[in-house]
């Protein structure tokens, strides 16, 4: 697939890298020659110098040959214009990243989807939603809604006092809980494991499981008896992400604090928010931490525009006794350090939501979503089983194409979530949530569609 990425910033770079790994033909456009040169040095891509909104530059990038155009420059107007021009040139799929919610919520004649832009991604909103899900379910590091929110996939970290530590699936202490959920995979250091009967859960493992929301909640209550709801949630940074998150969290019972050093911005946040307490104070100042009173039932989320500040804030909060810390980290190079030093409970990268949106397009027809998970190096795909699939009518344990994937969850036509055990027989129209091993999603999907 030929994909043109407009904008070689942080987002464009991570996207280009991801798409190159999957061996797509990638063209990157930017107005900065230096960042293009740097990118071309490390990736097998073609680069075109020039603004994405310039017809001349788009022509040079041979935009009419592209199957997908992704506009991710820092300016909304450029992104929209680039997509409109690509639409005029006959590009079948266009994705734009936008930050101004006016564009996203526009309806009627102003709806961008009506002008040929297939998908508008607001990474800040998606990222806020991501964090909101995690904060709603204490104990988790990631929560993803799947199958029209009828099921969820949840990531948890096994710590010292968890009853799961050292447990095995065969002879699991709570067999009744186990029947309603399904373990997908676990990450131990750099190793990705698919849990089998004799797999032993160890302290420090990141475990992902899937099931109906109630079943998962019941399981979490057992797995984390000491973790009640957060009483106080502190958000450092009143940017778009912080503001969106605070807005979502106001629906919960927790007390919400928003720290924003800039007076005007703080006032703006206070205008938009209702029950949240907005403080005009610098989250990097230790005196602030004494003021706001962090207890063992406090969650701390740092979402300023500065990665390093976010990490330091979280470390300070943890020192003061916060039980959960999360930070926005945009530089992909920091991820390994954060993981190996366990600096934070959760780092969020706003570009992930965009990468997931792009993945969905690439994976093709029948695919309802495709997503990467926070700490698993694989991919999660939601797919509807087509009638011509060789999987139809087979028992799950007999499917040969499933060697590099696991079925996490299964939704029948009658809206019933069914545990995807080995004996279950698949039928046409089943909606599956698949977890595939790294770099094998294309192969698994080819198997599923049966067009060898």
């Amino acid at each position: 697939m030929r994909i043109v990425i407009i904008g070689a910033g942080n987002a464009g770079q991570q996207l280009a890298q991801r798409l190159c790994e999957e061996r797509h033909d990638v063209v990157v456009m930017d107005i900065n020659a230096a960042s293009l040169a740097e990118l071309e040095d490390t990736l097998d891509i073609m680069t075109v110098l020039g603004p994405g909104s310039s017809p001349r530059a788009l022509e040079e990038a041979q935009i009419e040959k592209a199957d997908l155009v992704v506009a991710v420059t820092s300016r909304d107007e450029v992104n929209i214009l680039a997509c409109l021009l690509a639409h005029a040139a006959g590009v079948p799929h266009k994705v734009a990243r936008l930050s101004d919610s006016d564009y996203i919520r526009a309806v009627g004649p102003y709806d961008l989807r009506g002008m040929g832009i297939d998908m508008v991604v607001s990474q800040k909103e998606e990222c806020a939603h991501d964090l909101f899900n995690v904060l709603r379910m204490p104990g988790t590091i990631e929560v993803v809604d799947v199958l029209d929110q009828k099921a969820i996939v949840v990531g948890i970290k096994i710590d010292m006092d968890s009853p799961m530590a050292m447990a095995q699936l065969s002879g699991f202490p709570k067999a009744d809980l186990l029947r309603r959920i399904r373990f997908i995979a676990l990450q131990r250091d750099k190793q990705l494991l698919i849990p089998r009967g004799d797999t032993q859960f160890m302290i420090g493992d990141d475990v992902y499981l899937a099931g109906e929301p109630d079943a998962v909640t019941d399981f979490l209550e057992w797995a984390y008896p000491e973790r009640p709801e957060f009483q106080k949630i502190i958000i450092a940074g009143g940017g778009d992400l912080g503001l969106n998150l605070a807005f979502l969290l106001e629906k919960t019972a927790a007390q919400i604090l928003l720290l924003e050093p800039d007076e005007k911005r703080a006032q703006f946040c206070a205008d938009r928010l209702d029950t949240t307490l907005v403080l005009k104070s610098d989250p990097l100042d230790p005196a602030t931490f004494e003021d706001i009173g962090i207890t063992s039932k406090t969650a701390f989320v740092a979402v300023t525009d500065d990665d390093e500040n976010n990490i330091i804030c979280c470390l300070l909060a943890e020192k003061c006794g916060a039980c959960f810390t999360a930070a926005q980290v945009t530089k992909s190079g920091y991820a390994p350090i954060i993981a190996s030093l366990s600096l934070l409970d959760r780092a969020v990268n706003p570009y992930n939501s965009m990468i997931n949106a792009i993945l969905r397009f690439i994976r093709g027809t029948n695919i309802e979503s495709a997503a990467t998970l926070y700490s698993l190096a694989g991919e999660m795909i939601e797919v509807k089983l087509p009638p011509e699939s060789p999987w139809v009518g087979q028992r799950i344990q007999d499917i040969k194409g499933l060697r590099e994937a696991i079925i996490a969850s299964l939704l029948r036509k009658d809206n019933q979530i069914i545990p995807a055990t080995g004996n279950e027989i698949l039928t046409t129209g089943d909606r599956l949530v698949l977890f595939t091993l790294p770099k094998s999603s294309a192969k698994v999907l080819k198997n599923l569609r049966g067009n060898n």
Partner: protein, 482 residues
């Protein structure tokens, strides 16, 4: 440098080129070469296959390449295939010694076309074919071939690709380098096929047509005749040669664009204009010079000049007339053409037209600035500003080219009777040309030079083909430090 991964990839290069030795064996069978030639070729091919397999087996493992490894792969890869490619000559006793065999092979792969074989007609068919085939492999490049065929090169592929393709900046035809390399080899293959049919139509037999198609499109210059193209003494043959060589001297990305529906690209390219302008003007001057000072008939003068200017501008090195006998002005112009070379991205050698074009405009700019220091003057090619970065690369390339020429000339004076032969042998090797002046002139060969001289020239040919930097970085002590 990651020697394991580097030599793992080199094992593939050896394997690819060895396939050509099996083909040569097939030719030897087809044309009933003596039995010792057939067994010699098969032995060489078999031994090299075994060697490649062994090298492959002992160096297996993950391929993770850095920029430095790229230089290692290209330089050591070329050295390795030159050595394994020399084996057929040695095992069939076609050359008097191993050094001559190595010289002949490197002259083949670098598409130089200098030969150290006194009477080419004495060579068996299988060896003649192998000799031409090495030029064809080297013309577009064995590394480019590897990039086209081996899918796992990825990013490293671009590094390797640019180390072997000629010219200051590399054109990507497609986003992925693998498909660019495939397209370039496809164009190369198609042009070779057309040249093959054209040569046969002009009157060459099938064997000669095939060999000359290989060596003319690659702008190499090996011939199946000692007297080179002069042996045919036919205007039609010479004209076909001229056209094929000119095509070989034009950048292949441009051929691709023209063949895929943009024939106007030829006229828009500033390099092409300069290339053909230079070609036309030098033909005119030399032909007039020949007519007035040697008393040749205009038809004769233009025929000889047309061929010799084309063959030397494209760094091919076929011979239709002994230009050593020409007046000094003509020889001076020919020497300049030898240094200048063809277009970037072509199979031709030399400094490359585009570099001269930029240097020329840069010089013009400096002169204008001298007159009017406050003027803002940009160096432009095809209405696009050439960045300072590229200008400085081109200038340093030119300086290093001259430096290598000087040093190598001094070394060659040890092995050759006169300075003229020494400096022209180096110009010829560095520009991947073939013949020079004096004792290495148009109707002479390199057989009389001793082993030391041959080794020096072998190395200079490699330097010229890989455009200096790739090879020279290996001489930096820093390169070898971790």
């Amino acid at each position: 440098m990651n020697f394991r991964a580097v030599f793992h990839l080199i094992s593939f290069l050896v394997l690819f080129t060895t396939m050509g030795q099996y083909a040569s064996w097939g030719i030897a069978l087809l044309y009933h070469d003596p039995v010792y030639v057939q067994t010699g070729l098969l032995q060489a091919a078999f031994f090299n296959t075994l060697f490649a397999a062994l090298l492959w087996a002992v160096t297996r493992g993950p391929i993770d390449l850095t920029r430095r490894d790229g230089f290692g792969i290209v330089t050591f890869g070329w050295l390795m295939v030159a050595h394994t490619g020399a084996l057929p000559y040695v095992l069939t006793a076609s050359t008097p010694d191993a050094v001559t065999a190595l010289f002949e092979t490197m002259s083949g792969y670098t598409a130089t076309g200098s030969t150290a074989i006194e009477i080419v007609e004495d060579l068996p068919y299988g060896i003649l074919f192998w000799r031409s085939l090495t030029q064809w492999f080297g013309g577009m490049g064995i590394i480019v071939l590897a990039v086209a065929i081996l899918p796992f090169l990825g990013v490293g592929g671009m590094q390797l690709f640019s180390a072997e393709m000629s010219g200051p900046s590399k054109d990507r035809l497609t986003p992925r380098i693998e498909s660019t390399a495939k397209l370039l080899w496809g164009v190369y293959l198609a042009l070779t096929l057309i040249a093959f049919l054209a040569f046969h139509w002009a009157g060459l037999n099938w064997f000669d047509a095939l060999n000359h198609a290989f060596t003319a499109v690659a702008t190499g210059g090996f011939s199946t005749r000692t007297a080179s193209v002069a042996a045919y003494d036919s205007v039609a043959v010479e004209m076909v040669f001229v056209v094929v060589m000119l095509i070989g001297g034009i950048s292949f990305p441009l051929h691709y664009r023209a063949l895929t529906g943009y024939p106007k690209s030829y006229f828009k390219d500033p390099q092409i204009r300069f290339y053909f302008g230079l070609w036309g003007i030098t033909i005119l001057i030399i032909a007039l010079n020949l007519i007035f000072s040697m008393g040749l008939s205009p038809a004769h003068a233009f025929r000889d000049t047309l061929f010799q200017v084309t063959t030397l501008l494209t760094s091919t090195g076929f011979v239709s007339a002994d230009y050593n006998q020409w007046p000094a002005l003509s020889r001076g112009i020919l020497l300049f053409l030898m240094i200048c070379g063809g277009c970037a991205g072509s199979t031709a050698g030399g400094v490359k037209v585009i570099r001269f074009l930029v240097l020329f405009k840069k010089a013009l700019r400096e002169i204008r600035l001298f007159m009017q220091p406050e003027a803002v003057v940009q160096v432009k090619v095809a209405k696009k500003t050439v960045t300072q970065d590229i200008i400085s690369k081109i200038t340093s390339y030119f300086v290093i080219y001259m430096l290598v020429w000087g040093v190598a000339t001094l070394i060659m004076t040890l092995f050759l009777p006169d300075l003229k032969s020494a400096f022209s042998s180096v110009v010829s090797a560095l520009g991947n040309m073939g013949p020079g002046f004096g004792s290495v002139g148009a109707v002479q060969n390199y057989a009389h030079i001793n082993a030391g001289g041959k080794i020096t020239l072998t190395f200079v040919m490699l330097l010229g083909r890989l455009e200096l930097f790739t090879v020279l970085v290996l001489f930096l002590p820093r390169f070898w430090r971790k």
